[in-house]
Symmetry: C2
Subunit: 494 residues, 2 copies
C-alpha cells in the first residue's frame, strides 16, 4: 500500500492524473474492456448507493414516485422534437440486429443479417421521448395531473474522450419527468428540484453550489429554461453537477399530449425533467480529496469510523479487538457506520494508509497502553490531526466529531470557492484572472450570444450560469460595452 | 372503476387474460412502443422496490457488496465459454453503430455508416463473461478471495413471445457473481443463495417454493449445477422463481483467472452466479390474486392500510378525515404504511373497488355513525371479510391482522400446492393427472435424458427439479422401467 500510495501523483503536479490515480487506487472504479464504459467497484458503488438513498428520499418527500421505462427508443421518436434530435440523437449506440448465428466458417458467432430490425433502436441517451410517448396514454384530463415520476437508470452517450465518473459512454443517473396542468406549476417544479439538488450537494456532499439559469446556448436540447447547480473543483474549474429543465409544452406538442382542463377545453401539458448522475462521484472526489487520498463527508462515507488494534501476539489482539468491538457497537447504536479491522496478515501501517486513501473520516486506534489506561487515539481524515482521549464519553465525542467533519469539509470548500471567485470589469482583467488564478469570474454580460461566443472561442471559458441571487447592478458588457443589469458566472469547466 | 373492473376477465374463464387484465388495470405495468419492452408503472415499481430492499438487505447480511459492470459485452467474449455462447449469445440486441446523421434527403436521421463498430457489442443477456474478464485483474492470490459481488441491472434477451413481467425482452434483475478459492466454498455459496431466495419467497412473497437441482438439460448454460426454487401458480403451472448456479472453474478457465493458493501454487478460481428478476412480480400476482384484483402480502404492499371517510358535506369530511389521520399516524409509528384517501371528487364505492383491485391488505372505513360511536369498519382483502370494531386498541389489532394476513396468504398457497401435488407411478397416471388436474407431479425417473425428452415432447411437462429433500425411495422410471432412487418434480411451466 505504501508503495501503491506513492503512485498517486500530487495534485499540484498533475491534477488530472491525481484524480485518475485516486479513483483507481481507492477502489472506486476502473475502465472496462468496453471502450468508454466503466466498472464501478464495490467501494465506489457503496458511496453511490448512499447518494441514491438520500436523493430518493428527497424525491419521495416531495411527492415523486419511481417508475421504469424502456432502455431502447425507436429512432423515429428523436425526430419529433426538432432541437432535441440535434442535441441527443447523434452520438449514441444503435441497435440494428436482434440475433447472432454460428459463423459458417466455424469460428464463433456473427451477426445474422436475416435478423435486421425494421427500425433501428437507440440506447437511451435520455428518456424524454419514450416517456412522453407513454404519458400520452396516461393523461386525458386535469384529474390525471400532475404526474411526478422519477427513474433510476443507465444511459449511453457515445463520448470520444472519457474520464472515470466525469464523462463515460454509459453512466448511471436518475431522471425525473413531470407533467403539469399549468405553466406556473411546471416552473415551480423546475425550481423546487434544482433546490433539492442544491440541498443534497451542500448538506450531504459538503459541496457549495451556485444555482442559476443556463444561457440560451448552454440550454438542454428541447428545454425552454435550464437551471443548474455549479460547483468549483480544486483546480479552479467548474463542474455542472445537476440540472432541472422547464420544457414548456415542447414534448407535449411533439407527442400530442393534450388534456381537458377544468373548463373542459383541450390544452397541451406542461413538462419538466431533471437529473443527476454518477458524475457527482467525480465532483465529490475532486472537491475534497488531498494528496493522501480521498476525503469523504461522513454522511456519504460507507465506513465513518474504522477501529484498528495495535498489538503483540494473539492474546493482545483478542483483548484489544473485543474492546474495540464494544466501542464499535455503541457507535452503531447511534447510527454511525463502523468497521473493526482485526486482520492479522497486514501491518497497522498498511491499514492506516489504506483507510486514509479510502477517505474514512475517523480512525480510532487502541494499543496495549491505551487498553491499560482506558484511552484511544483518534485521527481525523479531514484535518489529519491526532489526539489521545479517554474512552469515557467516546460515543458522544465521536458523534460530535463526525458532525464537525461534515461541516468543516463544506466550509473548507466554501472558503476556497469564495477566494476563487473574482469580480472583473474589463476583458483584460478577465483574461488575466482566468490565466493566472482560474476559478469563478463574475462579469457583466449584455445577454447576447456574440459576447458569449467570442469569450468561449478566445479563452475556453463559458457562462456557467446566470445566478438566481445575482443582485441588480448597473454595468457594461466586458466585450460589447453594452449596458448590463447583472453579473453572470464564467469559468472553464469539465 | 366499476366499469373498468368488469373488464377483468374471471381467472376460471381465461387465466392468461385475467393475468394481463390485472397487471394493466391495477397500474403495475404496460407494454411500451418498443416491442417486448415494458413500462413498469409507479404502483408496480413500488412493489419491486420493496422486493429489492428486502433482497438487498439479505445479500448484505450474507456478506455481499453491490457493484456495477458495463451494459455492453464485446461479441468475442461469448465465444470463450463453449456452452454459454450456445445458451445466450443468439437472441440478443446487437449494437453495430455509434452515430446517426441527418438524412441527406432532409427527413430525420439515419445510421451513419462511417460509424460502424470494429467489433459488435451485445447488450448483456447476463454478465458472467464481462465480469470474469474483470475479475481476472482483481485476483492474484487467495488473499483476494472470496469476491462476493451483486449487481442490480437491466438485461435484454430478444424474446419473440412476451408477457408482462413473465417474459420480456428487457427486464430488471439482480445477478450475484462470486469467486472462491475452493470448490466446497463455491458449492456452499450456491446452496446459501438458493436458501436466501427460498426464504424471501416464503417470508416476504407468501410463496411456498420447492428447492431442488435442475436436470442436465435444464441447467444454466455454462454451469455445472443449477439450483432452483419452483413455485406453483393458480392455474396449476410451475414458475421457476430464482436460480443459483455452481459454475465450477468454467468461467475462470475461459477467462484465465488463476490465483496463488496458500501453498503458492496456481489454481483456477471457483465461481457461482445467482439471480432473480422482475419475473417475481408475475409470480406474486399469479399466486395470490382473485377475480376482484390483486391480493398483496402486507410485507410487499406499497400501502398496507387504506383509510376512507364516508361523509355528507364538508364538515363531516373534515371531521372524519382528521380522526382517520390520527389513526393513520399511530399505525405509521409502528411501521405500517398507510394512506388516507380523502378525495372528494370520487365516490366511496369507486375507492373501495380501486383499493381492492390494487390489493391493499386492509381497508378502514369510518362513517358518521362510526365517528359518533368510536368504531370503524375493517375489511380484509385476503378473506374479503368485514367487521365493525372499537377504535380502542385499534393499532395493536391492525398489527396482528397484518401479520395474520401475511401468514394466511402463505398458508392458502401452501394448501393449494399440497392439494395440487400428486404422486404417480405409471405414465398413464402421469398423463391423466397432467391433463385433468395439473399441478406438480412426483414421479420416479432413472436420470436419463431419454425419459425426460419423451415426456416433454409428448406432454409438454418438464422436470422442474430434483428436490433437495426428496426422500430415498425405491421405484422404477415411469417410461423406461429402470430402477430409480427418488421421485423428481414434473410440471408444465411458464
Amino acid at each position: 500500500m505504501a508503495k501503491e500510495l506513492k503512485e498517486v501523483v500530487n495534485k499540484e503536479e498533475n491534477y488530472s492524473q491525481w484524480y485518475n490515480n485516486l479513483v483507481v487506487k481507492a477502489g472506486l472504479a476502473e475502465n472496462s474492456a468496453v471502450r468508454g464504459c466503466m466498472v464501478i467497484k464495490p467501494y465506489g458503488y457503496a458511496i453511490w448507493e448512499k447518494m441514491q438513498a438520500a436523493l430518493d428520499k428527497m424525491f419521495k418527500d416531495t411527492g415523486h414516485m419511481n417508475a421504469y421505462f424502456p432502455l431502447f427508443i425507436p429512432k423515429s421518436f428523436f425526430n419529433k422534437e426538432a432541437s432535441h434530435v440535434e442535441g441527443f440523437a447523434k452520438e449514441c449506440a444503435v441497435v440494428t440486429h436482434y440475433r447472432l448465428k454460428n459463423d459458417p466458417d466455424g469460428k464463433g458467432v456473427v451477426v445474422d443479417e436475416d435478423a435486421k430490425l425494421e427500425e433501428e433502436l437507440i440506447v437511451r441517451p435520455t428518456s424524454e421521448t419514450i416517456i412522453w410517448n407513454t404519458y400520452k396514454n396516461w393523461i386525458q384530463s386535469y384529474r390525471d395531473l400532475p404526474i411526478l415520476c422519477n427513474q433510476w437508470a443507465n444511459v449511453v452517450r457515445w463520448e470520444m474522450r472519457t474520464r472515470l465518473f466525469l464523462r463515460t459512454a454509459e453512466f448511471l443517473w436518475q431522471e425525473g419527468h413531470t407533467a403539469h396542468a399549468t405553466k406556473d406549476e411546471a416552473l415551480e417544479e423546475t425550481r423546487k428540484m434544482i433546490g433539492v439538488y442544491a440541498e443534497f450537494a451542500e448538506k450531504w456532499m459538503g459541496l457549495p453550489v451556485i444555482i442559476g439559469h443556463k444561457s440560451d446556448s448552454e440550454r438542454f436540447a428541447g428545454a425552454e429554461d435550464t437551471m443548474t447547480i455549479e460547483a468549483l473543483m480544486q483546480d479552479g474549474k467548474a463542474l455542472q453537477s445537476g440540472t432541472s429543465h422547464f420544457l414548456g409544452q415542447n414534448f407535449a406538442k411533439a407527442f400530442d399530449v393534450q388534456f381537458a382542463n377544468k373548463d373542459g377545453k383541450l390544452d397541451y401539458v406542461w413538462a419538466t425533467s431533471w437529473g443527476v448522475s454518477t458524475r457527482l462521484m467525480g465532483a465529490l472526489i475532486m472537491a475534497h480529496s488531498d494528496n493522501n487520498g480521498l476525503v469523504l463527508p461522513p454522511k456519504l462515507a460507507p465506513i465513518e469510523v474504522v477501529l484498528i488494534p495495535i498489538y503483540k501476539g494473539e492474546d493482545e489482539l483478542r483483548e484489544i479487538t473485543n474492546k474495540l468491538k464494544e466501542i464499535g457497537d455503541r457507535l452503531k447504536k447511534v447510527g454511525i457506520s463502523v468497521k473493526v479491522d482485526d486482520r492479522d496478515n497486514v501491518r497497522s501501517g498498511f491499514k492506516f494508509a489504506e483507510y486514509e486513501l479510502k477517505g474514512v473520516p475517523v480512525r480510532i486506534v487502541m494499543g496495549p497502553r491505551d487498553f491499560k489506561n482506558g484511552t484511544v487515539e483518534i485521527a481525523r481524515r479531514d484535518t489529519l490531526t491526532k489526539e489521545n482521549i479517554s474512552q469515557e464519553g467516546l460515543t458522544e465525542y465521536i458523534q460530535k466529531m463526525v458532525e464537525d467533519i461534515q461541516e468543516n469539509i463544506f466550509n473548507k470548500a466554501l472558503n476556497f470557492r469564495n477566494e476563487m471567485t473574482t469580480k472583473v470589469d474589463t476583458y483584460e482583467e478577465f483574461k488575466e484572472v482566468l490565466e493566472n488564478k482560474g476559478g469563478f469570474i463574475l462579469a457583466h454580460w449584455d445577454g447576447t450570444p456574440e459576447t458569449e461566443e467570442k469569450i468561449k472561442n478566445e479563452t475556453k471559458a463559458t457562462i456557467r450560469c446566470i445566478p438566481v441571487d445575482a443582485p441588480e447592478e448597473d454595468g457594461v458588457d466586458i466585450i460589447s460595452g453594452n449596458p448590463s443589469k447583472r453579473r453572470v458566472l464564467f469559468a472553464k469547466s469539465y
